[in-house]
Symmetry: C2
Subunit: 335 residues, 2 copies
Amino acid sequence: MKNRILLAIVVLLVIPIFLHAQQKQKTVKSDPLPSWNTGTSKKAIINFVTKTTTEGSDDFIPVADRIACFDNDGTLWSEQPMYFQLAFAIDRVKALAPQHPEWKTTQPFQALLEGDMKTMMAGGENALMQIMMVTHGGLTTEEFEKTVTDWMATATHPQTGKHYNEMIFEPMLELLNYLRANDYKTFIVSGGGVDFIRPWAEQTYGIPPYQVIGSTGKVKYDTLNGKPTLIKLPEINFIDDKEGKPVGIHQYIGKRPVFTAGNSDGDYAMLQWTSTGTGPRFGMIVHHTDSSREWVYDRKSHIGKLDKGLDDALKYNWLVVDMKADWKMIYPFEK
Amino acid sequence: MKNRILLAIVVLLVIPIFLHAQQKQKTVKSDPLPSWNTGTSKKAIINFVTKTTTEGSDDFIPVADRIACFDNDGTLWSEQPMYFQLAFAIDRVKALAPQHPEWKTTQPFQALLEGDMKTMMAGGENALMQIMMVTHGGLTTEEFEKTVTDWMATATHPQTGKHYNEMIFEPMLELLNYLRANDYKTFIVSGGGVDFIRPWAEQTYGIPPYQVIGSTGKVKYDTLNGKPTLIKLPEINFIDDKEGKPVGIHQYIGKRPVFTAGNSDGDYAMLQWTSTGTGPRFGMIVHHTDSSREWVYDRKSHIGKLDKGLDDALKYNWLVVDMKADWKMIYPFEK
């Protein structure tokens, strides 16, 4: 009897240990990037992560230096037929129009409200900037956050009918998770506005607000009706694009990244800054090559133009990911 | 025999489980703030951390919202007889003087080089700004980092003879560790320069560079001799002080803190921003009251002036820590 009890105890004690070991082995052996087709791209990523996290490897990178930066538009989610933040701004102009009767006769607002995108776009960067200012300024930071959250929960993409934060790239989500599982810190370094990205980035990408770097407007600390508030001013503070990206990385992160992913020439400087550091480095360009599941564009596109990046990919040893060939799936909703 | 083997197996299996449980209990029971005297201050801190991290508590704060911000000068380390960053700048002026013969006859450099601190200080903020500009600009970010690291390893405080990063407050180190052990993210939010603090903050406080917020100079991405570099320009980008602190918190962290510690009126706005949010909040002021072990100063001090903060501490329920009465030990080297 004693024997049986002891045996039972042993079995009960050993089972969880055994299961745990199994679990662990399974985790190690399972494919960290299931949406990536087997091929050179997937191999290159796994090889880099493995060699930089294997103690004793010549290419080992200490945990404190495992900084990975990701562009957002076109790298983590789609950006066609227009940057999603612009779609947000246009919806805001429409919502605010009743309070601004003068917009009916002022460009670029008149064109926007009449749905005449050609005239609106003809105003160039200046017109876009005006739209961004009036739609992103004048609210408290908390009001703005709520506005973004509400919009993200309701607005849908004109072509897919999906919510914008459903149009994220499943293979990139896997890559973010894979890096984090290997003690990399993942940051967004976007030309888009931080206040637009932060309200949904944690839930969508697992990236907390303090790891989102992007363009910023000026903010003022003030007391409204006796209550301290931060008010978003209609003034640009910092544009986190092109040469601004390595600058933003310095100001916010304070370390040179060892892994960077982008998709356009707006990411060229940050990829270059990453790849010219000493030790192992990984630069990656998402190349939009899939006309049926996403969009096809590169050298001549107005949005996400990728020209110099393709020219110099070989020189800097950047991995050019071919969305059509390398990705089994684009969006999570395809599952 | 079989019996004995089974018994041995059981014992061997149970011992680690038992030891682990013991260890866990010990961790829970041991004093997380041994350098704090038993009293209302220590109790208030432990009470706040306990209630905000106990699941089911009305005051429970989800991990994602556990943001704690710490001023640096006078809160995490000493700031007398002058800000340590100013001591660094003065040493840099002396080191750079041979390359700047014109400084022998130009204020504030002449006074500084002649050791005439009165004349130098008479130049006010303008003079100090000039000194900061010439000593903090003109280098690449990597050169500047090395300069700070070298200085920190060699320079010593005129009164204690200790390295400056040895003059940190042991009770505050314990507080940082205690918060982190309870899944709080700890940030520095300093009026000092980020590029001056980051090189040693991780080793000294356990705070990584991307959790250090502070004043910044402008930085330019450029190519020097074919090598991409970030060059520090002698121009101010952002002053992270007074109303700038909640602004910096928004721009860098993107969340309102629930715990904030400061020591001067430069921290008033960030304490106010913290304490006027909804839900449980903790504001703490380190009051310099110990003339023998540290320094005594508050309402009339030129450095770390604390006046409005003392007036309104009760109104905002800020804990005023009495260094002399509350702290068993000031610096780690007293051990």
